[in-house]
């Protein structure tokens, strides 16, 4: 049977590859587990997401009520929604740690530039998942946060107005926006993410794991362990622990049910986006209304866009990792962490 299958699929070369694959062991190996942790949470997202679709209704009149039903009537619905929500949080958190560890350790250096770039696109994709998913329970907080979020592109000259209308499905955030966000969340983004993920994982297999700069320079043989089964067993332990933590948090801190959004009601106090957007939210808040002769919002949006572009091209910018420039790039990572933490905490005060 095995031979029969292999004659048709020819997968023995893949099995052979995995058998020979090895993982370098050094003081930075622990960061390698963050990638597979993201994968774990992504799989949880897919499974719980599929199940939630059975009851969720993406229309203005029923969205909030259907989430209430999932939380109160459907057997174990509250756990599934809670895991979906918490697993998303864990996924984004690990994405941040994953990318920051690569930034700090400079694992994106030649020839792994494209691995980094697909990684940044995966981060953006995941944040868009979060942004679109946040609106789906259709409560007053998420409604106002989405009004703000979709209005931000308007600050970009010429195309901005167009982008806002495209996101909202019209001038305002309405039932059309809800249905559109649902479509993006469950159909368009998954396709993009899976394609990007395939490229990302392929590149990792093709190029192998990066070794730290110091070790690469010393040219001595690096310590390695086989991917299968040694590394996979270690990963399995990490997965079990993370799954346990996620489930525990989900059971003890399920997301709340807020009041249904009303298109005409004033924005409630304490409107805020998901935690990973807080630092951007606070950045917009602290910018003055006018900045010389242009609006402060436009300046802020441009600075944020510039930041994303620089982040995407980081491996190209950081082309001399061992010299002074490389050290500055590394220091920027720590500055970013500081900025992220300070502004996030500030926005909660």
């Amino acid at each position: 049977m095995r031979i029969w299958m292999d004659e048709r699929f020819g997968l023995s070369s893949v099995a052979q590859f995995l058998k020979n694959k090895s993982i370098p062991i050094n003081k930075h190996t622990m960061w390698s587990y963050t990638g597979s942790a993201i994968l774990l949470f992504f799989v949880i997202q897919i499974v719980t997401g599929f199940i939630l679709i059975f009851y969720y209704k993406p229309i203005l009149e029923e969205a909030n009520a259907s989430v209430v039903r999932i939380m109160t009537e459907v057997p174990l619905g509250w756990i599934l929604r809670s895991v979906h929500s918490w697993s998303a949080t864990f996924m984004i958190a690990f994405l941040f740690v994953h990318l920051l560890s690569i930034w700090i350790n400079k694992a994106y250096r030649r020839p792994r530039e494209l691995t980094w770039m697909t990684g940044v696109l995966l981060l953006i994709c995941s944040m868009l998942f979060g942004f679109t998913g946040y609106l789906l329970p259709w409560n007053d907080l998420s409604f106002s946060a989405t009004k703000v979020g979709t209005d931000i592109p308007r600050a970009i000259p010429i195309v901005g107005e167009w982008v806002t209308k495209l996101l909202r499905g019209g001038e305002d955030v309405t039932g059309d926006t809800l249905t559109r966000f649902f479509g993006i969340h469950v159909c368009i983004l998954p396709i993009f993410l899976l394609v990007l993920l395939a490229v990302h994982v392929y590149l990792i297999q093709k190029l192998g794991m990066s070794v730290p700069l110091e070790e690469e320079k010393s040219r001595k043989k690096t310590k390695e362990i086989p991917f299968w089964p040694n590394f996979v067993y270690r990963e399995a332990i990490v997965w079990l622990i993370l799954f346990g933590v996620c489930l525990t948090v989900a059971i003890f801190f399920p997301p709340s049910l807020e009041k249904m959004a009303d298109l005409m009601a004033p924005a409630p106090e304490g409107v805020k986006p998901e935690w990973y957007f807080l630092f951007l939210f606070q950045t917009l808040k602290i910018f003055p209304a006018r900045f010389l002769f242009i609006s402060g919002e436009t300046v802020a949006v441009f600075l944020i866009l510039l930041g994303i572009v620089l982040f995407f091209f980081l491996p190209v910018i950081d082309n001399k990792p061992e010299e002074r420039k490389g050290k500055i790039v590394r220091a920027t990572a720590f500055l970013f962490i500081l900025y992220f933490l300070i502004l996030s905490i500030w926005s909660l005060l």
Partner: protein, 149 residues
């Protein structure tokens, strides 16, 4: 004059033909998709409200009305005149509320403040609230946007 040699090969010609065909087909597909993505959501030129619902308003209070799919705010001034605004913040589009004690409009999203006539006075809003024009015709209160006769 007859050219002795061909300017492009048969393969190039066919590639161009097929490429052009694929391009034209894509364009023909993209156009309707783009059009489809933007539903018509025209703002109303005017909204007519029954006076009866609004005539008993005390000075310095507001009532909401639907301005298309946006909230409209009708406010009675101290001198008895009526003034109307589109009730969304000019910063990032959140719905604003009126706080009678402070005689100010307030946007909770980013701490934006406007005075009782809709002028932006504090926080990030770059412009005053958009004002609408109120007129009284018999038993109807007519609220128009700027520039509509």
């Amino acid at each position: 004059m007859k050219i002795k040699y061909s300017l492009f090969s048969r393969r190039q010609f066919l590639n161009g033909l097929i490429g052009g065909w694929v391009g034209a087909m894509l364009a023909a597909l993209v156009y309707p998709i783009v059009r489809f993505m933007f539903p018509p959501t025209k703002e109303p030129d005017e909204v007519i409200l029954p006076v009866a619902d609004y005539k008993d308003m005390a000075p310095n209070t507001t009532k909401m009305f639907a301005w298309g799919r946006k909230p409209g705010i009708l406010k009675k001034n101290d001198d008895g005149s009526l003034i109307a605004f589109v009730g969304v913040c000019t910063h990032l589009d959140c719905n604003v509320m009126y706080i009678p004690e402070q005689r100010k409009f307030f946007c909770a999203c980013h701490d934006g403040w406007y005075d009782e006539f809709g002028t932006n006075i504090a926080g990030p809003p770059p412009k005053p609230l958009r004002q609408l024009f109120v007129s009284l015709e018999g038993e109807e209160l007519i609220i128009k946007k700027e520039g509509v006769e």
